[in-house]
C-alpha cells in the first residue's frame, strides 16, 4: 500500500497504468493493434502530437496559455514547403528557417505579454489570427505540393524495426526539455515563475526574460511539429494546426500539469499523448465514428483536470479537523 501511495504521488504512474491497460484491452480485442505496422503508425502520430503537447506544456509551466500553437505550426509548415517549392531551397536550411519563424512568432508573443501585462489568452488569440491570416494570405488556402522525396520518406518510413525517423527529433526535444526543466537554471526559472511569480522576482529571476524564453521555445517546438507533420502528410497543407488546440491542452493535463503553473512533467505528458493516440486508433479500428474523438478528448480533459485538482487539495487541507 505504501508502495502504491508513493508512486501514486508521481505524475507518470497513473498515466502509465492507463496506457498499459488501454494497450492490453485494445490489443486483446483487436490483435492487429499490436502489429509492427500499427505500432509504427501509432508512433508517427505520437511523434508529432508530442511536440504539439510540449509546445503548450512549456507555457502551462509558467502559468499562462498559448492559443497560437496551431497557427505557428501551420505557418512554419507552409513556409517550409513554400521555400522548398518556390525558392528551391535545400531541405535543411528551409527547415531551420521554418523553426526560426516559429521562434520569432513565440518571441513576439512573449515580448508583448511581458511588456504590457495583458493576459496571454488575449494576446495569443490575437496572434493566432495574425499568424493564421498570414498563412492564408500566402497560400490562398492552396497547399504546396512540391515536397522533396527525401522529406516524404523521412516523414513516413521507419529506420529501425517499427521506429519511424520522425521519432528522433521528438525524442531529442523531449529529452532536452526534461533536462532543462529538472537540471538547468533556465528551466527551473520557468517553473519558479509559474509556481510563485512574486517569490521568483524577489530572488532576482527576471520574469520578463523567463516569459520570453518560454514563449520562444513554445513557438520553435510548435514550428518543428508543423514541419514534421508537413513531411508526414507529404504536402504543405495550410490547415495544419487548426485542430491542435484541444490536444495541446489535453496531453499535459492528463500528465498532471496544473494550469496555474509551476508543475509539469515531460514523461507524463508524453504518456498522455500515447493514451490519446491509442484511444484515437481504437476508435478507428472498431469502426466507431472518428468524430467522437473530439468528445473523448473533451471528457479526458475534464477528468484529468478534476483529478489534478483533488491532488492539489490533498496538499493543502481546508483547516484542522
Amino acid at each position: 500500500m505504501q508502495f502504491l501511495s508513493r508512486y501514486g504521488r508521481t505524475d507518470w504512474f497513473g498515466p502509465l497504468l492507463v496506457t498499459i491497460l488501454a494497450a492490453i484491452i485494445v490489443g486483446s480485442l483487436s490483435p492487429s493493434f499490436l502489429s509492427a505496422f500499427n505500432i509504427q503508425v501509432l508512433l508517427l502520430a505520437v511523434a508529432i502530437n508530442a511536440l504539439v503537447a510540449y509546445s503548450q506544456m512549456i507555457i502551462i509551466a509558467i502559468g499562462e496559455m498559448n492559443l497560437s500553437v496551431g497557427a505557428i505550426g501551420g505557418l512554419a509548415a507552409i513556409s517550409f514547403a513554400g521555400m522548398m517549392q518556390v525558392w528551391h531551397m535545400p531541405i535543411l536550411p528551409a527547415a531551420l528557417l521554418g523553426i526560426l519563424i516559429g521562434l520569432l512568432g513565440g518571441i513576439i508573443n512573449g515580448v508583448i505579454i511581458s511588456l504590457t501585462g495583458i493576459s496571454a489568452f488575449v494576446i495569443t488569440l490575437a496572434s493566432l489570427s495574425i499568424y493564421k491570416g498570414v498563412n492564408l494570405g500566402i497560400t490562398e488556402a492552396q497547399p504546396f505540393y512540391g515536397i522533396p522525396n527525401l522529406v516524404k520518406h523521412l516523414g513516413n518510413a521507419p529506420f529501425l524495426g517499427p521506429l519511424p525517423w520522425l521519432i528522433i527529433p521528438t525524442a531529442i526535444v523531449g529529452f532536452g526539455l526534461w533536462l532543462m526543466l529538472t537540471r538547468l537554471p533556465i528551466g527551473r526559472c520557468i517553473l519558479a515563475v509559474g509556481g510563485n511569480r512574486h517569490a521568483a522576482e524577489l530572488s532576482g529571476i527576471s520574469i520578463r526574460l523567463t516569459v520570453i524564453v518560454a514563449h520562444a521555445l513554445s513557438g520553435a517546438i510548435a514550428a518543428l511539429a508543423g514541419i514534421l507533420l508537413c513531411a508526414r502528410l507529404q504536402i504543405g497543407q495550410p490547415t495544419i494546426g487548426d485542430d491542435w488546440l484541444i490536444l495541446s491542452f489535453a496531453a499535459p493535463v492528463i500528465g498532471g500539469a496544473v494550469l496555474t503553473g509551476g508543475h509539469v512533467s515531460v514523461g507524463a505528458t508524453t504518456l498522455g499523448v500515447v493514451i490519446v493516440a491509442i484511444i484515437t486508433e481504437a476508435l478507428v479500428l472498431f469502426n466507431i465514428d472518428p468524430f467522437l474523438v473530439q468528445v473523448v478528448l473533451g471528457v479526458l480533459i475534464l477528468w484529468a483536470v478534476g483529478i489534478n485538482r483533488l491532488r492539489e487539495f490533498r496538499l493543502k487541507p481546508l483547516r484542522r479537523a
Partner: protein
Amino acid sequence: MAEFLFEALGISKSFPGVMALQDVSLQMREASIHALLGENGAGKSTLIKIITGIHRPDAGELRLAGTPIELTSPRDAMAKRIGVVHQERNLIPRFSVGENIYLEQLAGRPLKPLRYPELYRQSRKWLDLLDLDVDPATPVSRLSVAKMQLVEIAKALALDSRVLLLDEPTASLTPHETVTLFKVLKRLRDDGVSMLFVSHKLEEVGELCDQVTVLRDGRNAAHSQPLQGLGRQDLVQLMIGRKEQIADWPARNFAAATPALALKGVSTILGHRDIDLTVKRGEILGLYGLVGAGRTELAKCIIGQFAVTEGSVEIQGKAVKIASVADAIHRHGIGYVSEDRKAEGLILMHSVLANAGITVWRNLGRHGLPLTDGRIRSRIEPFVRRLEVRTPSLAQLVGNLSGGNQQKISVAKWLAAGVKVLIVDEPSVGIDIKTKAYLHELLRELSDTGTAVLVITSDMPEMITLADRIAVMNDYRIEGTITNTRDYEEMSSRIMSLIHRVEAA
C-alpha cells in the same frame, strides 16, 4: 566597527494627501532583537516598505554598518543582505527546501547545470542552525506553516543577511510553534544577527526583544530604547499617546432582553467545537481572541459561508438552518462587516452607489419594477449622509476614498439592509483615530435602536469601550464569557487569564 548594523535616520515619506512618516529614526545593534511597535495607521508598514526597498524615502537616509545606502527595489534590498520574512509565504511550493533556500542561484547563469547533492549538502548547514529537521529534498508544500517560515529564515541567512526583518511572524503559528521559533531567534541573536521584530502582540515583544522603537501618527514616540523597565502600560501609552481611555458610557442591563442570536453547542466544519454564545437584542457582545483563535471563521459560519455541523443556531429565539450567505442576509437579517475590507467588504472598482446598495437590490427589485439608480439612491442616501461619508458624489469609485470612508460604506450597506444582527470584524484596522471614535459611537447608537451587535476585535481598549459582555475565544473554542465592568486593568487581566489558562495545561 560601526556601532549600529542598520540605521534609518530622519525618514520622511508622504503620499498624495497623507503624511505617512515624518522624521522617523531607528537604529539596530548587532546581536539584538529590536521591536517595532505602532497602532494600525501609525506608519509601521510604510517604514517596513522603505526598509525592504519597496518605497524610496522622500527625506532621510538608510545606513548599513555605517555606510549610507539606497535601496531601489526589493531585489536590491536582498542583494544588500537585508533579509525579510513577510507575513505571506514567498516560497516556490513545488520546489524542494534546498532549492528554495538557494533560489537566488537560478538568477545566475541560465545554462549551468545545477548540482543537487551539493545544494542539499550546503542547505543542511542552515537547517541544522535553525534546528529544522527536514530532508532538504522535501517539497516545501509538504511542510507546516511554521516550518515554511523557518525555511524562509534559512533563505535570508543563506544570503548572508546580518539584518533580518520579521513581519508578524507568529500570526499563523500555534503557541507551541511560537515557543520553538523564539528559541531559534534567540540563538540567532546570540550568533550576532540583528533582528527587527514587528508585532502587535505586546506579550511576545516583552519576552523576546531587548530594544524597542514605537511609532505614533507617523513619528517616533520612542526611538531605539532598551525595553528593560518598560511595562505593557508604558508601551501602550507610547503607542496611543495617552493612557488607554475607555469611553465613559453607562452600563446597560440586558437581563430582560430577548436573544437575537444564540449558538448552542455549535461545532463547525472549520474546526470549532461546542460553541455557546448569545447576543441579546440591543446588546453589544465582544468576541476577543488573539490572531488565529478562530473568531473570523466563526463569523463566517454564522453568516452562512461555511457549514455548522452540530448544535443549533437560533435567530430571535427560533432555531434556523442557514443554508447560504444570501439566506442569512435576506431571510434572517444577519450582516457581516468583513475584516478584509478591500477583498471581501467592498468592490473597489464600483461606485459608492453600487457598494452601498448591493444588499437592497433583491428587495427593491422584487415586483419586477425597473431597479433604477434613483430608487437605490433614495434608499441608501440617508445612511450615506448619516455616516458623514466624504465623497464628491455617489458615482465616485470606492477605491478612491480614504480608508475611513471606505469602512463607513461597508457599514452603510448593512444599515440600509436593516439587519437585526450585525457582526463587525476588526472595525478599525487602518482607520484614523477620529473615524474610529465615530464608528464606536455609531455601533453604540445602533445597538440602542435594537440591533444586536457582535464585535470581533484584537484591540483591547476598543473591546472594553464597546462591549456589554465579552466572550473570550481561543483555539476555536469559547473559554468564557464575562460582563464588562469597564475597568481596564481588571478586564484585561481577566481576559488574559482566560486565554492563557490553556497555555498552563
